[in-house]
Symmetry: C2
Subunit: 110 residues, 2 copies
DNA sequence: AATATTGTTCGTAATTTTGCGAACTAAAAT
DNA sequence: ATTTTAGTTCGCAAAATTACGAACAATATT
């Protein structure tokens, strides 16, 4: 019995879910908010904004980078982070489109 | 040694993260997209849209309900689901504000 | 050459998420 | 009084997430 599934969801829905998932933790929202308020900054400054260990901050940054929302650049011994503008705008467009869908139609059952 | 943490993140950032997390799975995006295209519908129709077992669909619906994005109403033996309009608009506003923040400022380090 | 600075990676633990089938519930239909 | 219908809840397993301290890497400074 083959229970593998194929193409369960649309690419767009998977992409939107990936962006949303990356934003699904308050630490990561805080990072994104902070980064979007600057041109860029170093790891240490981000760490200062957060109540968690540097190893954990590093992990969150990695997730944001994997989702494409931010980018990092080594400037030894520091690492400079910034918003990935292209994907940031892509994410924005995804959410906008998503919420705009059938906007006037929604009126619920009650 | 007390390692409890208090008020780590802003209420707004926690709320936005909660919305984002609820949207952080393609099945739940598909559900929301489907629901927002209708006034409302029954569990069975939602289940038909998805490639997963009904127990799993039920779980995803529970998460969306817990996040406040949808609401369910019993019409035995069926259950009617719909978007929670108030919170849906709240979520929309949260994302909009988030992405609008410093929009023109972002230009990255490169 | 040794030390300091700045982050990342590793190893680990606890918790949460995702998924399924089976059992259950509650009303409707027979 | 059974049976059917439509979902939910339970119990479980596998995988992913979150968090930390310790160890490491790579350059800069002394």
């Amino acid at each position: 019995m083959n229970t593998t599934r194929n193409k369960d969801y649309t690419i767009d829905n998977e992409q939107l879910a990936r962006f949303a998932k990356a934003m699904g933790h308050p630490a990561r929202i805080t990072i994104l908010e902070y980064l979007s308020s600057l041109d860029c900054c170093y790891f240490g400054e981000i760490h200062n904004e957060l109540p968690i260990a540097k190893a954990t901050v590093s992990q969150h940054l990695k997730e944001l980078k994997d989702a494409g929302l931010i980018q990092g650049e080594i400037e030894t011994p520091k690492v400079k982070y910034c918003i990935n503008k292209e994907n940031w705008e892509k994410a924005q467009a995804y959410f906008e489109t998503f919420f705009a869908l059938n906007k006037e139609k929604i009126r619920c059952c009650n």
